[in-house]
Symmetry: C2
Subunit: 210 residues, 2 copies
Amino acid sequence: MAERTRAARVRTNDPGGLRRRLVDAAFEAFATRGYHATSVHDLKRAAGATGGALAHHFPSKKDLGLAVLQDRVADAVEETWIRPVLSARTAADGISAVFTRIADELDRQGCVSGCPLSNLALELSRHDDDFRRLIDAVFVRWRAAVAEKIRTDQEAGLLEGLDPEAFATLVVASYSGAMAMAKAAQDAQALRICAEELSRAMQPRSASLR
Amino acid sequence: MAERTRAARVRTNDPGGLRRRLVDAAFEAFATRGYHATSVHDLKRAAGATGGALAHHFPSKKDLGLAVLQDRVADAVEETWIRPVLSARTAADGISAVFTRIADELDRQGCVSGCPLSNLALELSRHDDDFRRLIDAVFVRWRAAVAEKIRTDQEAGLLEGLDPEAFATLVVASYSGAMAMAKAAQDAQALRICAEELSRAMQPRSASLR
DNA sequence: TCGCGAACAGGATAAGCGTCCTGTTTGGGG
DNA sequence: CCCCAAACAGGACGCTTATCCTGTTCGCGA
């Protein structure tokens, strides 16, 4: 049943590489177009894989989705949010910088696809509980990292008067929601505004005008 | 081709009623399961309509989606957010009350389906520009109403030191994002936390601990 | 009362979907 | 070198999808 008429039959088994290409293609597609709006045929074409190969690595579309969440979405949050914030001078600096950097990137690439985690969260949380658990775990990790940085600042005397966990929740919620508005407006301004307002909310409570 | 074997053929033309039932069913389904995850067959069954009737009122699924946004989502935001906030004593009261009321409702009904507008925003904004424009318009209206209430408070001397438009953006973003987290956690706590943090951020900047 | 357009019934249709199956190729361990 | 499990090819399969078509029924205006 294999192809024989084509000139050179050159195939090399590369399980790790093909698997990675499939998850990459799925991450890209799920994050931009959505899980249900993406067909497995699209993914096969994007990754240059055949049905047999896909079925071998991922028996079902759901398995691919779970792999995307574990192998890509979690890392994306780690790279774009957690590491920059933790390595910044202060929590306020880090949070503001992340908002600004992402807004700049969106302007540069000219379109807003939204936060991959939020996109999948809204689409899949109620669809399947396995998805929901993974998504929630990423949100928990995200909030915990921001809260940790805030607490570190407080212990160093750089910040006062905030509940670390609560404010971290506000930060993550603001980002997620601002990205939703940015996606609807196709304009990153909402992100910059929220960054500014969060900075204001973090300032120590002394008499100062704007 | 019509049914003749069935006992009593009782049909009454009710264009307005059937149309409303279709849009209701679509709103319910799109808001909870999502647009792409809902088939038109599901909608026909939920509304008790036949293919011919659906096609008569809505030539395509997209037409139904646009009607849902115009006739239901916009009103839902008006009812659950804009009117309560505008009619509250102060902006701070209104915002806090809406967060709390919705959190209570979610606890009572035991599951979190999320904000209909945000759900559709993330799923459809990049899918189709007609959807995107309608969604953005609702966000704009939403933010403007909250900003208006804040400005009214300021003019009455009840509030100071806030940029109305900017803070309204933070409020809407926080709600949208907190609802996303609540959906992933299936727990309304994120909403209560954000309400509390927004209240703190609205307090005049005097020396007071928590 | 009657006619005509709007409202609706019910299925046809073609394309697309996710999954699975059989067969072939690869490459590392014995 | 050989062999066998893993890796992959390619398509069949059954089901669902959204749309559309023809035919029937309703109900308002005249």
